[in-house]
Amino acid sequence: MLDIRLKKSIAGFHLAVEFKAEAGLTAIFGPSGAGKTMIAKMLAGLVRPDDGHILIDGRALFDPRKNLNVPVHQRHIGFVFQEHRLFPHYSVRGNLAYGKRQAARTASPIKFETVIDILGIGSLLDRQPVSLSGGERQRVAIGRALLSNPKILIMDEPLSSLDQARKAEILPLIETLKSEFSLTTLYISHSIEEITRLADTILLIDKGAQKGVGPTADILSRLDLIPYSGGSDAGSLVEATVVGHDRSYHMLELETPGGGRLYLTGPAREPGSQIRVRIRARDVALSTTEPKSLSILNRFKGHVVDHCTGTEGMEELLLDVGFPLTARVTRRSFEQMKLKSDARIWALVKSVTISPS
């Protein structure tokens, strides 16, 4: 459990955030220069806040009223940086073992073998960091932070220095680590895609100011936050259950919270398992009548909950189709279709992204 209030001013930049987050993964999302890394550094003790407090699981790390500012090495906060920051004069094994002393003092639930296994770095142990590829280095850096047995783990854009293929390779590993160790994690990113996949709680910030904080699905379905939750890439999150797979059509069938079905092509998944589905608002089309003979498979019946004027001639809508779904249509369509709150609609979902198994 995190209880955090931070204030900091540096050279005309003012940062102020205040939030609480339960265990699980809390994501800080915002454009570059929003102050995300500054928050992470203040939590780790690398930058001193002007005012505020930092409480982690009831333990105070910073409180100027009590003249308390726990030094970096006593905070037990694991940090995965944007760049790997591996020690060039230690082997991979030496890097991984560097934080082990701290782990040895407390009974560590994080086992060396488990971490090596999940991250797939067993064959790299005797190599020097200089001989590793970018993806390998970042995996070792993640392992090193985990093996210091931190109370919380901060990941500051751990994928931003990697190409698309490496990202796709490491993101599932982070998901596995999250479920394996259930470690309170703070994940910083400017990719709404990554965050939708990983986060339990989202904190949105822009120019040092906190724009919203709350459970991922709630934050993503708030129309007023769309400028800060991805803009034209904004979308909603739905947790769906696998109900079947049609092998001849190579098609997966999911059940959404309202009972509506979601079909997508892909390999079979364990029936009953939960899948996070991200649906971008711009991939949702609307119809006031039940669409017939249309190639779009995914249709949900529901009604408009709320709407507001977006940028560039667009109208942002929040729909209830059994689950909250955001949609973006042109203002012209919006007016011609005479859409308003409570209007009955059919939502047509053109494409979705899901987390790979």
Partner: protein
């Protein structure tokens, strides 16, 4: 051509002086290098000037300062003599003092530059892994600046082997006591019919220089290779 016992004495004295010079300079140079690279404090510019002064002053002037301060009637020298019976005048300890003052700016400068080249982010990462600042210094910073320390030590050693002006001014040219290689060569140049002895010492000087360069190159390459760089 064979080397006489007197010449061997000169060579051994020179090596002893150079090694002691590096030995006593290294820790203070590490501290000053760290101070100048990492800390901001009042009087930093003044300290920088003082440390580098021996590079820019004529060595004779440095030798004269040493005579005034470290001589038996000098401010520090008198106290050393009274309290501990240590005298630096006309013996090898005085040569070490003179060479150390002359070599110090070269050693501390190399170390300072090594400190400045260290990626502070690595130290921060090490702190987040739960190691104390002292342990981080010993396990991260020190190994990373090792090539710089080595470069400084080699430079200081070479400077000590060749130091002439400050030494002869401070402790004079006493055979067996303060007569290092350059001082012995200087004496032989003034001695009639000593060309062959002179040439032997000149050749030995050149060989020592080659050996020092080769050793430092080998050590530097080895430590760079250990850091994973290309050498």
């Amino acid at each position: 051509m064979s080397i006489s016992p007197a010449e061997i004495e000169v060579i051994l004295l020179s090596l002893k002086v150079a090694l002691w010079c590096v030995a006593i300079s290294l820790v203070p140079a590490l501290f000053i290098g760290w101070l100048l690279a990492r800390r901001e404090f009042y009087g930093k510019t003044a300290l920088t000037v003082i440390v580098h002064l021996p590079i820019f002053l004529p060595p004779v002037v440095v030798g004269y300062f040493l005579l005034v301060t470290l001589g038996n009637r000098g401010l520090i020298g008198g106290w050393l003599n009274e309290q501990f019976g240590i005298s630096l005048i006309f013996n090898w300890k005085g040569v070490v003092a003179a060479t150390a003052v002359m070599a110090f700016p070269f050693i501390s400068r190399a170390i300072r530059q090594a400190f400045e080249a260290v990626d502070r982010n690595l130290e921060m990462a090490a702190l987040t892994l739960g190691r104390s600042p002292l342990m981080v210094f010993l396990t991260i910073t020190l190994p990373l600046i090792a090539p710089g320390i080595l470069a400084g030590a080699t430079l200081g050693f070479a400077k000590a082997l060749g130091e002439f002006g400050a030494t002869i001014t401070f402790v004079a040219n006493v055979p067996g006591q303060t007569q290092t290689l350059p001082l012995a060569i200087f004496s032989l140049m003034e001695t009639p019919n000593a060309e062959s002895a002179l040439w032997r010492l000149v050749i030995i000087s050149v060989l020592l220089a080659f050996a020092a360069i080769a050793l430092s190159e080998w050590l530097t390459r080895r430590s760079i290779r250990k850091l994973g760089g290309r050498a």
